[in-house]
Symmetry: C2
C-alpha cells in the first residue's frame, strides 16, 4: 500500500540528523519482532535496534499510567543509543503513550495503530470492521476512534482477547485450546458479519491460520507490520534520514530486559529465525535518570 | 498442622523489634491475597501490609535475575514501611530470591515453598507427590529438592502450567477452556497415580474445583497459605514479636504498583471481598535507592 504520512502521528517540527544512525524499535516483549522483520524487509540498508521489555511484559493487562512509564523508559533507553527514529511496535504502548512520546521526543515517532486503521479502511468492502487486541488497547478506544473518522460507529466491532498472548507464548498455535479461545472471543464478530479484522496486537499474526479457519477466508485479516514499514520508509525519505543503499544488509541488534524461560522458541516463532547475540538491560539501567541532550523529559504524572 | 520452624529459611541471628509493627507481605500481583487472608485469619491482632507488584506481574515466566531484582525492590519497599517480618507470598519469588532476602534482610523472612513441602509430606499416604507451578517455580527445582529430602525422586512429579494464571485472571474458573487446560497439563500426573498435589502458585487455589474434578477426590490438594500462616505465628511467638491480643482486628493496608483493568474482579476472586483504599507505588519509587538503616543491600549481580 502507499504510505500515508498524514496518518502518522509524527512530530513534524523536529528532525533527527545523521542518516547513518539506527532506527530504534521497542515492544513490551518479543511480539514486536514481527514488526522488526517487516522493517528489515522494507528497509534493508538500515541498522535496526530492537528493545523488548521482557522483564515487564505484558503491557496489555496493565493500566495506562504503568504503560506510559514503561514506554518513557523504553524510549529513553533507545534514545541513549543515538537512534534517528523511534518505532513503537507494541499496540498497547501506541495506544497510551504515542501522543506523549511524539510530543517529547526530538525525532520522528511512529506507532502501529494509524497504519493498521489506514490498511483496514483501504481493504474493507462492506465497511464492517472488527478489531481485536489486549484489554488495554481495546479499552483505550484508539482503534475505534481512528476507524470512526471514516465509518459509522455501529459498524465498528471491538473485542478484547486476553488469552491470545499467553496461548501464543506457549506455542499453542494449532491446538484445541486455541481453537476454543478463538471461538469464545470471535463469535460476536462473526455474527456481526465483519468483512475486515484488524489484528491489534503484535502476537496475533501467528494466529492467522486459526483465526481464518473460524472467521472464513472472505474476512480480510489486517496486521500493521507492513503498512508501518511503508510509513517508516516514507517518513525517512521525507526527512532525508534514509540510509544510502549499500551492498550488505543493515545490522540487527537486540536488547531485552530479561531472558525469559522460553526465549529461544518464542524468538523463532516471531522472527522466523533464532535470535543470537542479545544484550540484557537491567531494570536499574532502565529506571536510571538520563541527562543526555536527546533524552526524553521525565514526567511523573 | 504444627508449625515447623526448622523448615523455614528464617535468619536466626537477626530479630525485628517492636511487636506493634506490621507484617509485610509481597506478591507478584494479586494472587498473594489468598496468603494475606490466611494470615489475617490466623493472626487477627496483627496489622498486615500487602504489596502486589501488579505493574510487573507475572514473575513466573521471567528469568531468575529479573525475579531477584523485583523481589529486592519489593522487599526494600516494605522494609521502608517499618515491617517486623517479611512474607514472600509469591512462589516464583520464594524459589529464586528467598535465600538472598533471608541473608540480607534484618528481620525474619518466610516463603511459601517450605510450608507447602511440609504439608504435602504430612498428607501423602503412598508417597507419590506432584507439584504444579509457573515455569520459573518448576524450573527452579526448589519444590522437587525439598520433597527429595524425604521421598525418592522417581515419586516426585512436576509440571509447569503456564496458562493457569491467565485463565484465573480472566475469571474462567468454571469454563471449558479451563477444563481443557487442566486435562492438557495434569494428564501425566493422573497417569503417575500421585496421591498428593502441591498447588505451587498463589493463583491455583481458586482452580481447586476444576483440578479436583479431573484428578479425583482421593488426590489431596495442598496449598501453602494455611501452613505458612501457622509458621508465621510460630516464628512471631518464638521471637517475642507477636502483637498482644486486642479487641479489634488488625489493619489491612494495600499497595499495588499498578491498578490493572480487572482489579476489582480479581481482588474479589482472591480475597473474597472487594479491596478498598489502595495506594499505588510508582515504578520510580520502587527503583529508588534507599538509605534507610533497615534497607536491603543493593546487589546488582
Amino acid at each position: 500500500m502507499a504510505a500515508r504520512g498524514g496518518d502518522q502521528p509524527v512530530n513534524e517540527s523536529k528532525t533527527g540528523g545523521d542518516t547513518d544512525r539506527p532506527i530504534g524499535i521497542f515492544d513490551s516483549g518479543m511480539g514486536g519482532l514481527t514488526v522488526l522483520q517487516a522493517l528489515a524487509d522494507r528497509l534493508p540498508a538500515e541498522d535496526l535496534i530492537y528493545f523488548g521489555d521482557t522483564a515487564r511484559v505484558p503491557y496489555g493487562t496493565k493500566g495506562a499510567q504503568a504503560v506510559r512509564t514503561f514506554a518513557r523508559q523504553d524510549a529513553e533507553f533507545l534514545l541513549s543509543l543515538g537512534v534517528k527514529m523511534l518505532v513503537v511496535a507494541c499496540n498497547t504502548a501506541s495506544a497510551f503513550a504515542l501522543d506523549y512520546l511524539t510530543e517529547v521526543c526530538p525525532l520522528p515517532v511512529l506507532g502501529v495503530i494509524a497504519p493498521g486503521v489506514a490498511t483496514a479502511l483501504e481493504h474493507t468492502r462492506g465497511g464492517r470492521v472488527g478489531v481485536i487486541g489486549t484489554s488495554g488497547t481495546i479499552r483505550s478506544g484508539q482503534y475505534q476512534h481512528g476507524l470512526a473518522a471514516s465509518i459509522p460507529e455501529e459498524r465498528i466491532f471491538a473485542r478484547e482477547c486476553p488469552l491470545f498472548v499467553p496461548l501464543v507464548e506457549e506455542g499453542l498455535l494449532d491446538h484445541p485450546l486455541t481453537d476454543l479461545a478463538v471461538r469464545e472471543y470471535l463469535t460476536p464478530l462473526r455474527e456481526a458479519r465483519i468483512d475486515t479484522l484488524i489484528l491489534g496486537c503484535t502476537h496475533y499474526p501467528v494466529l492467522k491460520p486459526a483465526i481464518a479457519r473460524f472467521m472464513g477466508t472472505e474476512v480480510r485479516l489486517v496486521d500493521s507490520a507492513d503498512s508501518l514499514a511503508a510509513a517508516a520508509a516514507h517518513c525517512l525519505a521525507d526527512r532525508q534520514l534514509a540510509h544510502e543503499p549499500r551492498e550488505r544488509r543493515g545490522e540487527l541488534t537486540f536488547y531485552l530486559s530479561d531472558i525469559p524461560w522460553k526465549f529461544t522458541e518464542v524468538g523463532e516463532r516471531f522472527l522466523g529465525q533464532p535470535i543470537t547475540d542479545v544484550t540484557t538491560v537491567s531494570l536499574d539501567e532502565l529506571a536510571r535518570e538520563r541527562s543526555d541532550p536527546g533524552s526524553v523529559r521525565k514526567d511523573t504524572s
